[in-house]
């Protein structure tokens, strides 16, 4: 068996310049978990179908389970861990609406909701459903997530 290929990449992680030695087959989930002990992006379906592994790369959400870490060289990455000290209006609205049960899907939904509100400040219920349809929640908290998105959007418009 050939030796595993490794390489070093430099990127910005939650506002900090970092570098990491990675293996060629690593995905973003591997990179964050093994390189940085960040577990908010989680592998579930492993096929780009559930959104549990969502990471924001250069401003766009990507499936961390599929995106190769090597391609993140020079990129800017934001994860759910990017605001540890204070909760943002989206997180607060998720708590108020009770928009999670087991919480496994929650980071993906929170990150996607931030994107959604940035793109559509006053989303209709239909727009919310369409935008978030790539994120799955097995606990079935969808009605509460819709409520949370609406709450957060209203609060952010008012701010």
């Amino acid at each position: 068996m050939k030796d595993v290929m490794t390489q070093t990449i430099d990127f910005t992680l939650n506002g900090k310049a970092v570098s990491a030695e990675i293996q060629g087959h690593w995905t973003l989930v591997d990179l964050l978990q093994q390189g940085f002990d960040l577990y908010g992006a989680r592998q579930s379906c492993g096929q780009g179908l559930c959104g549990c592994c969502t990471v924001v790369l250069n401003g766009k959400p990507v499936s961390g389970c599929l995106f190769l870490a090597a391609l993140a060289d020079g990129a800017t990455i934001e994860t759910i861990e990017n605001n540890e000290e204070t909760l943002d209006p989206v997180q607060e609205a998720f708590i108020e609406a009770g928009a999670f049960q087991c919480g496994f899907c929650t980071p993906g939904f929170v990150l996607m909701t931030r994107q959604l509100i940035a793109e559509i400040p006053e989303p209709s219920e239909e727009e919310i459903r369409l935008y978030l349809t790539g994120n799955l929640c097995r606990c079935g908290t969808y009605p509460q997530i819709i409520e949370a998105v609406q709450k957060a959007a209203a609060r952010m418009r008012a701010a």
Binding site: Y39, C45, L87, Q91, G103, L136
Partner: protein, 762 residues
């Protein structure tokens, strides 16, 4: 009198989940995230055939693969577990296959390596030679088949020892109930008799965190860090397998990324424990999404139901025969056959009832407990049947049910009276929310609309035990130690509210210690909507005990009864500093359980409480394609007092969404025993686009014996969804779908068949 102290109301408040912040920041602890120093990763080699004798296993190439530490087969497991068969009821499931494989996907070997990718590569190098046997897949075929999944039944627990030594059968467990008089005679005397057969399909739990276990050998024994709903059982079973005393096994469970029954009893624990002890290093096995489909499923079943009616439309006789497809190993399947079998005749007042419910072995992946514990399948049958009879008799389905439901205080077919729950109120509520008596907009052109409802009943599991410890500290805080697992249902929050209420302290002052069998005492398991009632009581009693001990302490240090000496000072007087604890303990087993008679299933006290639910559904059907859109779903639940109304609401709605998926779209497909859709690409769980308008309506009258009047609600929302939708489909287009899922194709085929122009079978 001490009237200055105001009572804090903790119970009945919608406190946010206590771990909410960690969940929205992604910092919550799951075993999924756990990495230990020096840890190996295990990948499982699985059987590719459904039923075969193992001729040989060649692991040499895999073992020689650089980076591989060990490859283990069933024979290796014997070195450390003399009889490596586990199971909560039958000791029939090998840790790794021994002489035989019994389903496609069964674990045969495990590769351990420091890099999970290396382990996965090496798995592909294992070669097994099989001598194939005739498989049996269908539960009805299993009844008469010449091929047997097991040569001999291997009952584990005392209650089923009468099955010991039974050979040449695929019936794992036969349950029967006989109520009232001679049911055959009642059928003869009946004015009308109706008989129908229904089927349900296997589906998958697929919590988004798949099962995962880390085993860590320690100086004292073995620690299992595992995503499991029944830590106390894991400790017991692993100690039994290893022949070690229980105290040498420590089982630790933080939060679960969903459970729904998938993470009950033993999943990976026995295998990972053995692997870690043989490797003398920590080992982690995380299943992939695909592997979940080979690990545990929800029972498919064939359900036959027959009713005899008198000329007034009263049901006088009912016979139910249920065949549960349990897959290759028993798991909790026999208890599903038993427990769900109990209520197979539904929440109806029927004089003569005969029920036979069989858990069947087949060459399919194991079926176990899933939210509702067999009841959604049964209710699918009896509530379709009820509507079909009402239609045949020309009686409105609401009126027909009113004539037949079990009224309060009347005896259920099990012989136990229905005391605090009211079928009538549940029925009235769903009818009212649907505005059943009012005209309904039925659609136009090729789009038709319909509505329907269903009601269902479930008994709580019994008997079962919950123990709790409440420690009161000098800083005025309380610590609850219990082995209930918070898998998203909010048990930590609810139990903390109960403790806070008893101790009259803010709920934030109650700390909940997660299951850790070195610390937290015994609990049967987090299943069957039992925790709030059983652990709720244990937590309440332990808190009361702690409170009494604090009063003793006050007396001991000379504080006048009812005086306002602060807690810290009581401890300071005793210990010289404001430090120390009083410890309250409790063990709760509901009073009065009487095991049912094995021949008749009769017992005057079979359950501590009943759970009742109803669902109303409105659907729209495109008659050109058969496509069904559920527009509105109303879930009615008899909840007892709500400890946390918001969490109750979300549990009911979440359960109904899960069942909606299984009704409309989820089905595990097999091709000669091989799951062919083991991926979210092909097995579609509901997404945000599949969700109708959902309403919850609760009947929250106190459950007489519940802690603060509460009882379990985790499953109630799942009961009636499928049958309510089927009844609504019939109402819209006049066809009855007798097998789930209710896809556009099934409805379209049924419509064409009804019109006398059936489509060709595929």
């Amino acid at each position: 009198m001490n009237d200055q102290i105001t009572q804090i109301r903790a119970v009945g408040q919608s406190h946010p989940r206590r771990e909410a912040r960690e969940k929205v920041t992604g910092r919550i602890e799951y075993i999924h995230n756990l990495r230990l120093p020096n840890m190996l990763y295990g990948k499982i080699f699985r059987s590719t055939v459904a039923h075969a004798r193992i001729v040989s296993i060649d692991t040499s190439e895999a073992a020689a693969c650089p980076g591989v530490d060990m490859v283990l087969t069933g024979e290796d497991i014997r070195k450390i577990m003399p009889d490596p068969h586990f199971g909560v009821m039958f000791h029939d499931q090998p840790v790794l296959a021994l002489d035989k494989v019994r389903y496609v996907g069964e674990p045969v070997a495990i590769v351990l390596a420091s890099d999970p990718n290396v382990a996965a590569e090496a798995v592909a190098l294992i070669d097994v030679d099989y001598d194939e046997l005739e498989p049996v897949f269908d539960e009805m075929e299993a009844l008469s088949a010449e091929t047997f999944v097991h040569d001999e039944l291997k009952p584990g627990i005392p209650e089923i020892q009468f099955l010991k030594g039974v050979r040449d059968t695929n019936v794992g467990f036969p349950y029967q109930l006989r109520h009232g008089g001679d049911v055959d005679k009642a059928f003869e005397e009946a004015d009308r008799v109706f008989e129908h057969t229904f089927r349900t399909h296997p589906s998958a739990h697929v919590p988004l965190e798949p099962p995962v276990t880390v085993a860590e050998p320690t100086g004292a024994g073995l620690t299992l860090h595992t995503a499991n709903q029944s830590p106390s059982f894991v400790r017991y079973e692993i100690s039994r397998l290893l022949g070690w005393p229980q105290h040498k096994i420590r089982v630790r469970v933080p939060y679960l990324g969903g459970g729904f029954g998938a993470k009950l009893w033993i999943r990976l624990e026995a295998l990972v424990a053995a692997a870690a002890l043989l490797a003398k290093r920590p080992v982690k096995v995380s299943l992939s999404m695909e592997e979940q489909f080979y690990t545990i499923t929800k029972h498919g079943a064939t359900l036959k139901i027959k009713s005899g009616l008198d000329k007034d439309g009263r049901i006088t006789a009912r016979k139910c025969e249920v065949f549960w497809n349990g897959g290759a190993y028993a798991d909790i399947g026999p208890a599903v056959a038993f427990h769900a079998g109990m209520t197979a005749a539904g929440p109806y007042d029927i004089e003569n009832v005969a029920i036979d419910s069989f858990s069947m072995y087949t060459n399919r992946p194991v079926a176990g407990a899933m939210r509702g514990f067999g009841h959604p399948q049964l209710i699918w049958a009896y509530e379709n049947h009820t509507d079909m009879m009402a239609h045949e008799l020309g009686i409105d389905p609401l009126e027909f049910r009113r004539r037949n439901i079990l009224r309060e205080g009347k005896e259920h077919a099990t012989g136990t009276a229905l005391n605090t729950s009211s079928v009538e109120k549940v029925l009235d509520r769903v009818a009212e929310r649907l505005q059943w008596g009012k005209p309904f907009e039925r659609g136009e052109g090729t789009v038709k609309r319909g509505r329907g409802f269903a009601i269902g009943i479930k008994a709580s599991i019994a008997p079962s035990t919950s123990e709790a410890i409440v420690r009161l500290g000098a800083d005025g805080s309380a610590t609850l130690m219990c082995s209930s697992v918070d898998m998203g249902q909010g048990s930590d929050t609810a139990h903390a509210q109960i403790v806070a209420e008893v101790l009259n302290m803010p709920v934030e002052m109650v700390h909940v210690v997660h299951p850790d069998t070195d610390v937290t005492p015994y609990d049967t398991g987090t299943l069957g909507s039992r925790s709030l009632y059983h652990m709720g009581h244990a937590a309440r009693l332990a808190a009361e005990d702690a409170k009494a001990k604090l009063e003793e302490l006050a007396a001991e240090v000379g504080a006048q009864p009812g005086s306002n000496v602060p807690i810290w000072e009581l401890f300071a007087r005793k210990n010289g500093m404001p430090v120390g604890h009083v410890v309250g303990t409790a063990s709760f087993i509901p009073d009065g359980h009487i095991p049912p008679d094995p021949m008749t299933g009769q017992s005057p006290h079979i359950t501590p409480y009943w759970m009742l639910g109803a669902t109303g559904a409105e659907v729209e059907i495109d008659t050109e394609t058969g496509r069904v859109t559920v527009l509105r779903m109303i879930n009615v639940a008899d909840t007892g007092t709500q400890i946390n109304p918001k969490i109750v609401d979300h549990q009911i709605s979440g359960a109904s969404i899960m069942q909606l998926g299984q009704t409309m779209q989820e089905k595990v497909h097999f091709d000669f025993g091989q799951v062919t859709n083991a991926s979210f690409a092909d097995y579609k769980i509901p997404s945000m686009l599949d969700i109708p308008q959902i309403e919850t309506s609760v009947l929250d009258g106190a459950e007489a014996d519940g802690p603060f009047g509460a009882k379990g609600v985790g499953e109630t929302g799942s009961f009636c969804v499928s049958s309510a939708i089927a009844n609504a489909v019939f109402d819209a287009v006049g066809v009855r779908v007798s097998e789930m899922p209710i896809t556009g194709e099934t409805v379209y085929r049924a419509m064409r068949a009804a019109a006398g122009e059936p489509l060709e079978e595929e």
